[in-house]
Symmetry: C2
Subunit: 349 residues, 2 copies
């Protein structure tokens, strides 16, 4: 494919939302507020009265959503409802509609979209937005304030459809985007969310396994509270999330186990034999994350300004957008079909 700046810039003027829960409801309200036309469907119609007052057009079936021929149709349904919704959409979705979603594991959604024969019109998406509540009554357009979305592709992804979804996110929602393949997304999500949920649960299990647990709990302070907080959330939901990304999580758990075992052995060598190499290894272990500490210290400054810079696609949009994400750049505006404005937001070293 040859890219030129003269390609007409795609626009997501009409957006359909399937599922008016916390994420879908907040998205529908945000897009409406910012001038996009939104059509919505929910598996139960109890949020429709409120949604209509917010300017959202509500329809009775998911098929009607597709029949309205929106520019983008966003699946905000639970992951487990995905196959059924996709099966209903497949016969009726218009060829010009781009399908996307908000799921937190992209490989599995891709497989389900492929199974429904819809991969040609699909672009994956995952907004970093949410809180501990659920349902339309908890929805809030400000949930998307300054949020980042991961937008994912595979080898079949159409670039114009990617730009359509980016228009919805950057201009429609007012958010930032990084573009990456499904596998890179799921590896990263396993590292910063799915695997740590298992670690937090293992810590809570270790507490339950000690006969002195009531004493240990008595001594617990902020560090323990923070490290086990995610173990307190619904364990069935955590388990489902971990199982959806099972092999990425298991690979990272093996790596964590190795780090902890190494440190255990070094502490023994140092304490029992005064081993100099072990002492150096312990120093190195605690020094390693220094760039992360410095990044977080900088991030905590309230007055931090991220200047915009340009990014132009030269030849291969997939690898060039992925490399941009690896450099810590977030896309904030689509300028033309081959040029973007980016901000360096997450550069650890």
């Amino acid at each position: 494919m040859e890219l030129t700046a003269t390609t007409e810039l795609p626009h997501a003027g009409v957006i359909a939302i399937a599922g008016l829960g916390l994420i879908g409801g907040s998205l529908a309200r945000r897009l409406t507020m910012r001038g996009r036309k939104v059509i919505a469907w929910n598996h139960r119609d109890h949020p429709y009265q409120e949604a209509r007052q917010a300017g959202i057009t509500c329809v009775d079936t998911v098929e009607e959503l597709a029949q309205a021929k929106p520019d983008v149709l966003v699946l905000c349904t639970p992951l487990k409802a995905m196959p059924e919704v996709l099966a209903k959409l497949a016969p009726v979705i218009d060829g010009r509609t781009t399908l996307t979603d908000v799921g937190s594991v992209k490989g599995q959604v891709r497989d389900e979209v492929k199974a429904a024969g819809l991969n040609a019109c699909y672009v994956g998406a995952h907004p970093m937005a949410g809180n501990e509540f659920s349902g339309y009554s908890a929805s809030d357009p400000s949930l998307y304030d300054d949020a980042l979305w991961a937008v994912t592709y595979d080898q079949a992804t159409d670039y114009c459809r990617l730009l359509t979804v980016m228009d919805m996110i950057c201009e429609g929602v007012g958010d930032r985007v990084i573009v990456l393949d499904d596998q890179t997304h799921d590896r990263a999500a396993a590292l910063i969310s799915h695997m740590p949920h298992v670690v937090a649960t293992a810590l809570a299990n270790e507490l339950m396994d000690t006969p002195e647990r009531n004493i240990a709990q008595a001594l617990a302070a902020g560090s323990w509270r923070d490290m086990t907080r995610v173990a307190l959330t619904d364990p069935d939901r955590t388990r489902a999330m971990v199982e959806e990304d099972a092999l990425n999580v298991s690979r990272l758990l093996h790596r964590m186990a190795e780090r902890l075992t190494d440190m255990a052995e070094q502490l023994e060598q140092s304490a029992e034999h005064g081993d100099a190499q072990a002492q150096q290894d312990i120093l190195d272990f605690f020094a390693m994350a220094q760039p992360y500490r410095e990044f977080k210290a900088k991030q905590r400054q309230n007055d931090i300004v991220y200047p915009n810079r340009g990014l132009s696609i030269v030849a291969d949009w997939r690898s060039e957008l992925l490399e941009s994400a690896k450099r810590g750049e977030h896309i904030v505006h689509v300028v033309s079909s081959i040029s973007f404005e980016v901000q360096v937001r997450t550069k650890l070293s």
Copy 2:
């Protein structure tokens, strides 16, 4: 030793504080506010003017603290200064003064106290109080609001001295106490603080070790922030804390590594072979900490009331007070030399 309720109840009327940092300064102010006489020394005299205004008597040397013959002398100096301060105190401390401290690892302090020949007059103590600041200027009597102290013994500990320290804490400071041996304390502290600090650091190291770290950081949300927060604190201080409790930490790291490895293998067996036993093991892993979840949910209720109940020592104060702590009871008042009021505060199951 035969215990009778007629033994005169020890009283900590005059308390000496060595070290006017955050912990020592707050303690000195709290005790003064609540009517105890406090004499203090600090290795530099810059907090003396403020301390004197708060009603604290300040002296120029640590020897003068001992020569004032306080009922209790509390070491609030940094752990690394302990041997030097103990060496200065040993020749001058009065036989009736009880020595205690506020260190977070009790085994090591005990060894240093023994090396100074002061174990006969020593009772270990560790208040669960603190924040991210330091120094007298950050001190605040409310740091000790509704706080719990662990008070520790060994086979040489004098019961009357233990009661003196408990009088200082329960009546002088207005706090709660659990009584346990040094080893039980250090095992529990390793579980809920020292080991999790290593785990948080290992998570941050895993992030630094991935080429896609800038992408992973971009996707990071609340769970990652909470689980790595303690890895952001001064790594040298964390390392020192972990090394002081090295063998307890290493034992727990091996156990954590085993839990994570087991879970990794179960996820592989389940994802690749649909193994039913692995699926059951995964369910069990996520279900195990349910009593912890229920305890935390109950603890979050603001209107929770803990009724007082009585606890009487029958024969062996060491084992009976330890068993009370294991039942999740916290001592809130010393009623007589063999009877206490307790509240069940940390009972996980």
